[in-house]
Symmetry: C2
Subunit: 275 residues, 2 copies
């Protein structure tokens, strides 16, 4: 079997299973090849990925060691992607009656969802969550793509307790967009107490939903490592939650003039990216 | 640049973008290589994928031609995956009060969701949908993974019309699991009239929800190409919808004795798979 044939299969297996550890033995047996040969193959993949900014191949030494693929985008790539997203979200016909921004088509497009998931996975790459957590419905595709990149399960907060989820913990909160008291609920069995979690949501204005998510996490004694938002509004400047990262910032949405102004978050200017 | 380096990058780009057409020129420019060289590289990837059952590399001839990756699983792989899923779903503590089956952890685990999506994409690989369609919430991860494999957007039917979606069409239906009249709604702008759609959902008993989805599709003059379900119950045998494919069949769920019996659908016995 030729090197390039092994490279094709190894690349596919590694990149389709981000952060999953594969032992050198696994590949050696798959190809009936020496471990030293596999090791050389992996070095080649690693160097090539680095040269083309296609993510990081990480080697873990030791008996329980092996190799895994970490999806990491370059700062330039993230900026380009966010500018493209901002451009698309500024299309005038996205303004809905009531001054809402229509984002559903982008969020549920697998190409965009995966892009956004890889961006979250890159900016939060130092974190080691046990679970990704979001609230239904529009957070799901973004959180699912992020969960895939972190190789952890996704936990969904529901907008009501469901009979198909068993007993659950629910809290009330005031959503910024509707100004009404709403309920969010999480099935007891879905999240073990004391878990480390990363929260993801699609939109944040005042932060009522985000605060509700954090309160609900406290009920599960979960440790919140971070909060990632796709689009955050610049006003109100004072949010109900402190630590969050909004990939994009919505500065203005004028329903009458049909103007929207969205740009990549200020954080990216000073964001220093080293693996 | 060496062949194995080009192979690593091409494999990553192709497999991470299923059914997306890349011209030979695209790769020739990326690597500063001759088109004949790229063509040889692609043949090698194609043959290797075939030998390892890792999907199909499809060449499209002509001026607008190129190459794309079609995720296709072998019949053996699908059967193994479905048996593993059935085994996992038969864990006794999945039975919830009321005789419901807890599946949320599997559905929202990216590894399982992607596996299920690739199975749907394989069994429906002859269809050419413009959109995948599902109903919130538990259908979303499965439909999103299927949509990714088909390289089409996902459209979400909501359980109520939402202010952040604009005007919508809603219908009432009777859900088999709750026996109550419920509403489902789809934003007008989310699905162009006359689209070809593939419907995906997580569970079907009598088929009330599935029929509702089909009725709603009729309101959008959509052509329903198929209906894929993760778990269908064997009783009632007579469903409200005719044409559907349930990957798994739930034969029995005994709340008192804590017994669950799930197996791969009967269809797989006679299912003939050729690309």
């Amino acid at each position: 079997m030729r090197r390039s044939e092994r490279i094709a299969i190894m690349t596919k297996i590694l990149t389709q299973n981000p952060r999953m550890l594969f032992s050198l033995n696994y590949f050696a047996e798959l190809f009936n090849a020496a471990k030293s040969t596999i090791s050389e193959d992996l070095s080649l993949i690693k160097d090539t990925f680095q040269a083309f900014n296609e993510g990081h191949i990480m080697t873990v030494a030791g008996a329980a060691g092996g190799v895994k693929y970490i999806p990491l985008l370059s700062k330039e790539k993230i900026l380009t992607d966010l500018e493209e997203l901002a451009h698309k979200l500024q299309e005038r016909d996205r303004i809905l009656p009531g001054g809402y921004l229509y984002m559903t088509d982008i969020i549920f497009n697998p190409l965009y969802a995966n892009k956004i998931g890889e961006i979250f996975a890159t900016v939060f790459h130092r974190l080691e969550p046990d679970y990704l957590v979001t609230i239904e419905t529009k957070g799901i595709p973004l959180a699912l793509a992020t969960a895939k990149a972190f190789n952890v399960p996704l936990v969904i907060i529901r907008d009501d307790s469901k009979v198909t989820e068993g007993s659950s913990v629910s809290i009330n909160y005031i959503s910024g967009s509707t100004k009404r008291i709403q309920t969010m609920a999480l099935a007891r069995r879905s999240l073990p107490p004391g878990s480390k979690v990363l929260l993801i949501d699609d939109f944040m204005k005042a932060g009522g939903t985000a605060q509700g998510m954090q309160d609900l996490m406290a009920e599960f004694k979960a440790q919140v490592l971070g909060l990632g938002i796709l689009v955050g509004t610049t006003t109100p400047q004072e949010k109900l939650v402190d630590d969050y990262l909004a990939l994009l910032e919505l500065e203005a949405l004028d329903e009458k003039e049909k103007n929207i102004f969205i740009r990549p978050g200020e954080w990216i200017k000073t964001w220093d990216f080293t693996v």
